[in-house]
Symmetry: C2
Subunit: 423 residues, 2 copies
């Protein structure tokens, strides 16, 4: 056995990385495992998908973040299972990582509610690859419309449907409407991109369900002002290469469908063989420990924890606070001190942006909307970006995008094969 | 027939795009066709490959560049052949573009001198996809070395060979040496990236053959100072997954081999069924017209033209000047004026950078090397980048890279499959 306590963190998202940083300086042997070599600032990923930002503006190499943290090492690898008896994490290449303490921060992915065949027709937005795929589909659809002489086909190619009107769906719809109705208007000759139809489909009776109804109403009005067609109370029953079908038997012809509806936790519950809630999240103890598994914690989007009768939301601040809390718990245990006890979520507010000059913020005690909310949203996001370089690059690009209504990141990156692909 | 003269430009590189811009305002029906939706600033592509810059920093959407040029339209499409009798350009999707005037500016690609099977083991650097592929291989090789327990395998994974010591080979070698020996030194725990071996292989007796011998000698000394092993007079006879074999029977174990040796023109000569030189370039007339093909021009890396007994080099300034010249010729013809006559190449100098604080410039009448040449190189490249946004973004990133010796663009972008790939 290694002389130092071995801590393994799986996942370098907001939760895992915050935990790792909070363990800096401790006499432990810390390993952070992730499938990708970068940490992703997911809240701005929709801007990569809509050609406003670059992948590397919203991502940061994990090795770079932890390079000077002496007790930490970074492993590029994919976890396939956990052996709770021998206390080992198993990787797809056969390697095993023994742990004394284990933090699972493996996040969530999108779910199609049992209709996995919809995925190839309606990509979701969780990873960098998703964002570049969506960008490619958006831009290639317009290229194809420009080349097509058939008005029906052009109409279908110029219809973009987004399923789910949570923050991601609203942000995508607003950004695609701006891209087509403001940014690209001079770019094509055979089509008028102002004719692009952006349809936001939502099963509930309002957009942004996690916000107060007044802000939902404001967001709806703003979306419509930007030219987005919002379909509320609409259940999706089918999705294929032609578009969507709905519960009332009607159809929508759309060559591009994006999925922003369901979220499912990563398979951490399966790895540990512990009960999960409907979304696949591990039912953790009040201190974020896993029942029956000593010194094993689950944090972030993979953890289900109820506070004041409400589920702690799957947002970056909650994951970061949980990472901090688990690090504190481990520090206390290793120092032989009293445990900090149950995790308490501090809700600093809820933000969503609808597009240029328009956002909503719910601080609980205060609700903001419109221009000032939008500026606050922008400042907050630049502030939370890791590293001075990313901050200034994002700020620079936003500044130019703001002034010029241009989007220089509208490259269709990919191989010849990717260029041939549509849906 | 369209009432306006139809001009088709194939290729949106330096030559094609300059020609298109120089035809602005003319009463013509101008079409620019390219396989990609962006113009690429190739001189900085090696920085994308070595994680210093982003793809969209060195690329710019063609539609954006020409959006306000009323007489121009942009077509995303792949040319497969030309019917010189009907005067039509044929695209892979079956479309045909009729032309009255045709400008072929289709550039060049790398060649393996008849050993095409080497390509998968030794990618070249011509396109954005090449750069992201090379970046992925470089970074994944180090990740694998970190994970490997076998010293022989680690050594092989930490050996990077570059074949060809022209400007691209020298730039790649210098940048990889800096990346491993300066930027990444704190990132790994099991390996020391200072042990990375960068080997630059050249068949001739000096590096940078297109420069005067004194600058070659300076570049060689600088490369060696940066820790690059330069092998001169060395002929590559084999290339496979294990590395390179040489004319003298020896081998080099290297998991990553990059190809910067041969350049072959695009198949424009084949399309037109006209004689080509050894590198596949069309032997053009003094005015860049194609013998036997009226109102058809070939410019840039696809054109072979000799001036003052010397081949006009395949560099960006030559392509741009040729684009200007052909546009002038067409303008004169359409206006019924006298043709400007033969193309004259004005050589403004030759630049290559070896790495931080080190470059060489040959102005003909003046030769510069070292720190001042490096600053001039940087200023010139920022200046020639299209668009204020790209200029300031590249400048910002360079500023941070310069101050911090960091490279934030070191993301391994790709799918799960890409992550599994190595060679």
């Amino acid at each position: 056995m290694s002389p130092l306590p071995r801590i393994v963190i799986v996942g370098a998202g907001f939760g895992g990385l915050t935990a790792a940083r909070a363990l800096d300086g401790l006499a432990v042997d810390l390993t952070v495992v992730d499938r990708r070599n970068f940490h992703l600032f997911q809240p701005l990923l929709y801007q990569v998908a809509t050609a406003g930002l670059n992948p590397s503006d919203v991502a940061w190499p994990v090795r770079g973040i932890l390079s000077r943290q002496k007790n930490a090492r970074v492993l590029l690898g994919e976890v396939t299972s956990i052996d709770a008896t021998t206390r080992e994490v198993l990787l797809s290449d056969g390697r095993k990582l023994a742990y004394d303490w284990l933090i699972l921060a493996t996040g969530a992915t999108h779910t199609y509610f049992g209709n996995d065949q919809w995925e190839r027709h309606a990509p979701g937005l969780k990873r960098v690859d998703d964002a570049t795929l969506i960008r490619r589909r958006l831009l290639l659809a317009l290229e194809r419309a420009e080349n097509s002489g058939d008005p029906a086909e052009q109409k279908k190619l110029m219809t973009f449907a987004i399923v789910g009107a949570g923050p991601t769906g609203v942000e995508l719809a607003g950004a695609i409407a701006e891209l087509s109705k403001k940014v690209l208007i001079h770019d094509f000759r055979a089509i008028n991109t102002r004719d692009v139809r952006v349809v936001l489909v939502e099963g509930a009776d309002r957009v942004l369900l996690s916000f107060p109804p007044t802000l939902s109403a404001f967001a709806l009005a703003e979306l419509e002002k930007k030219g987005v067609d919002v379909m509320l109370n609409t259940r999706v029953t089918g999705c294929d290469a032609d578009g969507l079908s709905f519960g009332d038997g009607s159809n929508l012809d759309a060559a591009t469908v994006l999925w922003a509806a369901g979220v499912a936790a990563s398979p951490a519950a399966r790895w540990l063989d512990v009960p999960a809630d409907r979304a696949g999240r591990v039912q953790v103890l009040p201190d974020l420990g896993v029942p029956g598994h000593e010194r094993v914690f689950v944090i972030g989007d993979t953890a289900a924890i109820v506070q004041n009768g409400k589920q702690v939301p799957g947002v970056a601040p909650a994951a970061k606070q949980q990472g901090q809390h688990v690090a504190k718990t481990i520090r206390a245990a290793l120092a032989g001190k009293k445990s900090p006890g149950p995790f308490k979520y501090r809700d600093f507010g809820n933000l969503a942006t609808i597009g240029r000059h328009s956002a909503v913020i719910d601080f609980g005690f205060l609700r903001m909307k419109g221009l000032i909310a939008w500026w606050l949203w922008g400042i907050a996001h630049v502030y939370f970006l890791i590293g001075a370089r990313n901050r200034s690059l994002v700020a620079t690009q936003w500044f130019f995008n703001y002034l010029s209504y241009s989007r220089a990141a509208r490259l269709i990156v990919g191989t010849d094969e990717d260029y041939k692909e549509i849906r």
